[in-house]
Amino acid sequence: MRPISRHMTSKLVCRNVWKLFGPNAQPFMTQTPNPSPDDLRRAGLVAACRDVNLEVAEGEIFVIMGLSGSGKSTLVRCLSRLVEPTAGEILFNGENLLAASDQRMIEIRRHQMGMVFQNFALLPHLTVLANVAFPLEVQGIDRARREARAQKMIDLVGLAGKEAFFPRELSGGQQQRVGIARSLAVEPELWFLDEPFSALDPLIRREMQDEFMRLQSVLKKTIVFITHDFDEAIRLADRIAIMKDGEVVQSGTPEDLVLSPATPYVAEFTRAVPKAKVVRVGSLTKPAPAGLNGAAVPVRATVAEAAPLFAAGVDLLRVVDADGATAGALHRADVVDIMMRG
């Protein structure tokens, strides 16, 4: 079972972050600390991020989901300070990035952050090996060491044998594997993925999502993942933040969003999602009657996975936690209820 926030240290905290585009955004922000949409319109400014608050816990996959123009790409660039936020605080391991010097930022980016880009951003004049080794080269690491490290990363993403190829000789999926390998070459603590699979065909996208989950099960990075695809978000996320017009409208686990969408906008996304495939047994578990025995389901299983066990005619299943201890009971009626809600 993966723990969810608060109990663990927060790797990245984002407090009251604003990003305004337009003339004199900075002085405006100082004068009007909490501007309304009307204030902004009058000042001729566009808000890409409005008062965003997030906390990303160590080792979790945090997905920021939003349609185009919702400000998600700007937000992820604010988090790494590729874009300078107009106001707010970004704490990385407790250190405020907005107060860091350029030199310090270079240090942090070189050693602690990695990023994967939507259109891969591979350097066309370098081979796969040289592309993956490039971040290390920039740090001045000698050839033998950086190439050994790059080779490891290439093997990890399953591109062994393609080292001497140039990016344009690879398929889209392979190119993004190079992008992933490159971003991992510096062994980052914090891994940003900006719509990494959006430029790929649906089939390849699915394959890459599986590959991504496989990698994460090995690497256990802290991940900020951007997507416009709600299904992708549900599939990958430990927690999701949904953005609209620069604001986070709701953030929580996939179950939270599906079971209790905060706004009609969120509900619009969750309506088409089969709840049984998202809701986990844990959130339907009730206290177990004494002496409950028989068939058991893990607390992390989805309702859809648990449902077939009721086919035997039982009304009550034993729910077990990761250690195999009884954690409660799952009632047939609750499962049916979830299934009926679509």
């Binding site: 590729l82 270079i106 350097l123 004049h125």
Partner: protein, 671 residues
């Protein structure tokens, strides 16, 4: 909003009605005609700029130049010492290149010099370019460049060609590196870019003859001054292309650079420049071709080489010799152009770096070096290997002279009749018409056009620049320039646009046309003079023919590009509505391609103006001639003032047409 459901006029042709004559234009037109009809007798000051009010710009510039050459000083050393120092630095690589491929390494001075090491044998030079061709573009390119260089040897143009090539070998690297650095600086500091842009505009529009004189003063007569002039001419496009290419680097690549913690220097040299490589190679090709063009022109200030041969032949009116040297320039131009283009493509598709030995990895290099050594050694014994044997040289000079004589004997009357008919009925009346216009009215009209098309700033630009032309006493000559340029552009458009229209719809025809205009554009402007002079001797008509031939390429190219860029959905929609081919062409394609065609015309005007200055050599009486005379008299002020007047005409035309094209685009909803 409720729109009528079937308002087809708006759906099909949104605001495509022909531009109505607006009231302000009508008023301005009437005012202008009234002024014109009032006549020079009643308003002399408005027709001929009063002599007393002339700005003595030529004298100021001349005085400034004198001060610069004789007195300007940085304390430790004078300005002239600085420029001569630069000249000496450029001279070093030039001497080396010249020694290597042309004169050999000499010991001693002047006629008493003794050759200690001979230059590269002609066979070795050909072998090098063939290997370059083979490496960059395969067998076909190798054969092409081999034939081009072989042509130089066989027709006795080798020595001149190598002198020209030596200048290019020095100018191109400096031009590329200098342009790259300026372009990077302009990309990095917006202020610098804003300051640089007008300078680049001037560098590209001032006729080259105009700055030959000051360069002559500052850098001395000789090949080095020619290289400096070449740099001024060839660097601006590289600078512009660099800035544009860097701006075109995808933002994700920049994000990547920052994300992996690149320093500024790493960002520039490891990320941006390599990512922009493909566009930058286009710039390199431009520098090479412009350098060739300029090195030819710079033969006037001692660059020597093929340009000097053409110039000398023009002065003697020795058509055969001039044509031969001209063809040699063509051969050199084609070879250099194709080689550099092949390299640009090659750079984009680098092969897998195999872990092979040195010889295997650098096979071409090793081969070339081995060949050079072997031929050099054999050359010591066998003179035919060292330099192409005189006995085997062919000369087509007499042949061409015969051809020209034959053409003149048989077609003289026809050509003469065509020439005279056009001169009497079109050229001369137009020239007179322009000469009679009141300068004040024209200035006002230009300012008005600027205001209508682009607002107050443009009005100020066009008005002030045209006023300056009058105020510096260049008005009469400027009208001749405008007349020759205007007539040539009209002819170029009358031929070029229909050709473009035809070629746009026929892929095969377009491939042919494209091959022809590509070649035309690689030729240095000098080359165009020879056939024109050959058939029509000297004069305005000859100049016009040469200008039309030089300037027609952009008219064709932009027409085709504009027509091909029209949204195919609109054409399909037109066809679905039952338009005939003619209707589709006139009602949809040409209308939507209009802005593009206008930009093509703009380019045509720029090409025409730059060629017009060269045609001063065949006896026109415009600003170009003024610049040329100033060049022969080494009169800096006079040359620069006339040169600036040409630049002003170019800038006025450019800004007005660009503003017009932008407005049309907006009106058509293409932005």
């Amino acid at each position: 909003m409720t729109a009528p459901a079937l308002d087809t006029s708006r759906v099909i042709a949104p605001r495509l009605t022909p531009a109505r004559i607006s009231v302000p234009w009508l008023v301005a037109g009437i005012a202008f005609v009234a002024l014109w009809l009032a006549g020079p007798e009643r308003l002399p000051a408005l027709f001929t700029y009063p002599k007393d009010w002339l700005i003595p710009a030529a004298r100021w510039i001349g005085d400034f130049m004198k001060w610069l050459v004789n007195e300007a000083s940085f304390g430790l050393f004078t300005f002239t010492q600085l420029t001569r120092f630069i000249a000496a630095i450029i001279d070093l690589p030039y001497r080396f290149a010249l020694s290597l491929i042309s004169t050999g390494f000499l010991s001693g001075q002047g006629s008493g010099a003794v050759q200690i090491v001979p230059p590269l044998p002609w066979i070795a030079v050909i072998a090098i370019v063939v290997l370059l061709g083979l490496y960059a573009g395969g067998r076909r390119l190798a054969i092409l460049v081999g034939v081009c260089f072989g042509f130089l040897a066989v027709f006795g143009q080798w020595n001149s060609a190598m002198v020209t090539l030596a200048s290019i070998l020095v100018a191109v690297p400096i031009g590329v590196v200098g342009g790259l650095l300026l372009g990077i600086a302009a990309y990095r500091w917006e202020r610098f870019e804003r300051a640089l842009t007008p300078v680049l505009d001037l560098m590209q529009t001032i006729p080259v003859f105009a700055y030959l004189v000051p360069i002559l003063f500052l850098f001395g007569f000789g090949p080095t001054a020619a290289v400096v002039a070449t740099l001024i001419y060839a660097m601006p496009p590289m600078t512009r292309i660099t800035t544009l290419a860097l701006k075109g680097v995808p933002s994700e690549i920049l994000d990547l650079g920052r994300m992996i913690g690149c320093t500024r220097r790493q960002m520039t040299w490891r990320i941006m420049v390599p990512s922009a490589r493909d566009s930058l190679m286009v710039g390199v090709n431009q520098v090479i071709m412009l350098s060739l063009n300029m090195v030819i022109i710079a033969s006037m200030i001692g660059a020597g080489g093929l340009g000097f041969d053409v110039l000398a032949a023009l002065r003697r009116l020795d058509i055969g010799a001039g044509l031969e040297a001209g063809l040699a320039i063509v051969a050199l131009a084609v070879a250099l152009d194709r080689l550099s283009q092949a390299y640009a493509i090659k750079a984009g598709e680098s092969a897998h770096a195999a872990e092979a030995g040195f010889v295997a990895r650098h096979g071409y290099l090793v081969g070339a070096l081995a060949f050079v050594m072997i031929t050099a050694i054999i050359g010591l014994v066998v003179p035919a290997v060292q330099s192409y044997p005189d006995a085997l040289k062919l000369s087509t000079g007499t042949f061409f002279n015969e051809v020209v004589r034959w053409i003149n004997v048989n077609f003289f009357d026809t050509f003469e009749a065509v020439k005279n008919a056009l001169l009497l009925n079109v050229l001369v009346p137009f020239k007179r018409f322009l000469a009679e216009l009141p300068w004040a009215g024209v200035v006002a009209l230009l300012a008005f056009a600027g205001w209508r098309l682009g607002g107050w700033r443009l009005a100020l630009t066009t008005g002030a620049l045209s006023f300056l032309i009058a105020a510096t006493g260049q008005w009469d000559k400027a009208t001749v320039t405008v007349y020759l340029c205007g007539i040539s552009v009209v002819f170029a458009a009358l031929i070029g646009i229909p050709v473009g229209v035809l070629a746009a719809e026929r892929d095969r025809l377009w491939r042919w046309v494209q091959a022809v205009i590509d070649t035309l554009q690689t030729l240095p402007s000098f080359v165009y003079l020879m056939p024109a002079v050959m058939l029509f001797r000297v004069g305005d008509f000859t100049a016009m023919i040469a200008v039309v031939a030089y300037a027609i390429a952009p008219a064709i190219r932009y027409t085709v590009l504009g027509l091909r860029r029209v949204d195919p959905n609109l054409i399909e929609a037109g066809r679905a509505m039952g338009c005939t081919r003619w209707q589709i062409l006139t009602k949809i394609k040409l209308k939507l391609a209009l802005p593009e065609i206008m930009l093509g015309l703009n380019q045509t005007i720029m090409f025409a103006l730059s060629m017009l200055v060269i045609t001063a050599l065949v006896g026109t009486r415009d600003l170009g001639q003024e610049v040329y005379i100033a060049l022969t008299k080494a009169d800096t002020g006079r040359g620069l003032v006339a040169g600036l007047a040409v630049a002003f005409i170019a800038i006025i035309a450019d800004r007005l047409i660009a503003a017009g094209a932008a407005r049309t685009k907006k009106r058509l909803g293409l932005v």
